[in-house]
Symmetry: C2
Subunit: 190 residues, 2 copies
């Protein structure tokens, strides 16, 4: 019997689990449906709070989280808040960084590349004349996002660049942020 | 001199400050440029950590935050993590909720509407066969987001619905999520 000395845990990712899950998704397409949920409540001024707990995925209601995550959002004083928390646009950058980073780590693990560092700086630029309703020639959101990675790993620069490209091609949040997604808003008011 | 008994603080928003800022943006368009920044570092597996502190806006480097915000992201076990934090797609929903909510509150304050409740539930649906690279007919990101508000305030239902519509038309993150934004990714690798 031929064995290798590699462990299935690489970059902190259980690659045996990853391949097992891929097999399940291929065999049972119904398991691929995920529904993530966030509940948010206004506190005061620009300050609101989200509760993040349950979700549907892999064919079942997830029960792995015994406690909900509580995450606040607000604004700095110059945008009429009191710095109670990061602002929503900063959370969007955080979501993008976290998703590309974990996708890079997963792809590297699948390709047997050991990583030592993945760090990134993100910059989102906007002109507030859009969101302020002063000049319709500016959009409300970021005009662009610049993301710079610094990656150190046991592979050639070419292979590490390929991993970044593969992560861009597979990241959930990179797809949402670059391509947009339909958002249906309803409001029960009284 | 005619005065009213209304205070400039409404829904926790200093409306005098809001109008003052709008006057500055109209008079000095350079003040409208904002640059938000997030620094992220991989910890292990699907787990990463963002530091959110400084930004450029209103014509100056902001110095209002004495300490950085530290925000983690990870995944639940079914997506190869250990529930160290909400996942990136959930943070994106949180960003959307926080931005629409504070925009509703700001718009209501400007329109002299007192709000008593703004709460929301968001659902993001995706088929993981996209991000897993199993079936190219599915996108990586959410196929759709459903957002349901519950809003109570001292105004007619019609006026409250108008405020929601105005917030959709002015929200930074709603624009980004529905329309997408160009993301330039560079990687320094070795």
């Amino acid at each position: 019997m031929t064995t290798t000395s590699t462990t299935p845990i690489r970059n902190g990712v259980d690659t045996a689990q990853v391949y097992g899950t891929l097999d399940v998704l291929k065999a049972q397409p119904d398991a691929a449906r995920f529904e993530f949920r966030v509940r948010n409540r206004w506190i005061d001024g620009t300050h609101s709070r989200s509760t993040i707990h349950d979700f549907w995925g892999a064919g079942a209601e997830d029960v792995s989280r015994t406690e909900p995550f509580i995450v606040d959002a607000s604004e700095p004083p110059v945008l009429f808040g009191h710095n109670e928390a990061p602002n929503p646009a900063e959370y969007l950058l955080h979501a993008l960084a976290g998703c590309l980073t974990l996708t890079i780590v997963n792809v590297a693990a699948a390709r047997k590349v050991e990583l030592h560092e993945v760090s990134s700086t993100l910059i989102g630029v906007l002109d507030a004349r859009g969101a302020a309703g002063i000049d319709e020639s500016y959009r409300n959101g970021f005009e662009r996002i610049e993301l710079s990675f610094s990656i150190r790993g046991d592979a050639s620069p070419e292979k590490l660049q390929e991993i970044v490209e593969r992560a861009k091609a597979r990241s959930v949040v990179y797809d949402i942020v670059t391509n947009g997604v339909p958002v249906a808003v309803t409001a029960d008011v009284s």
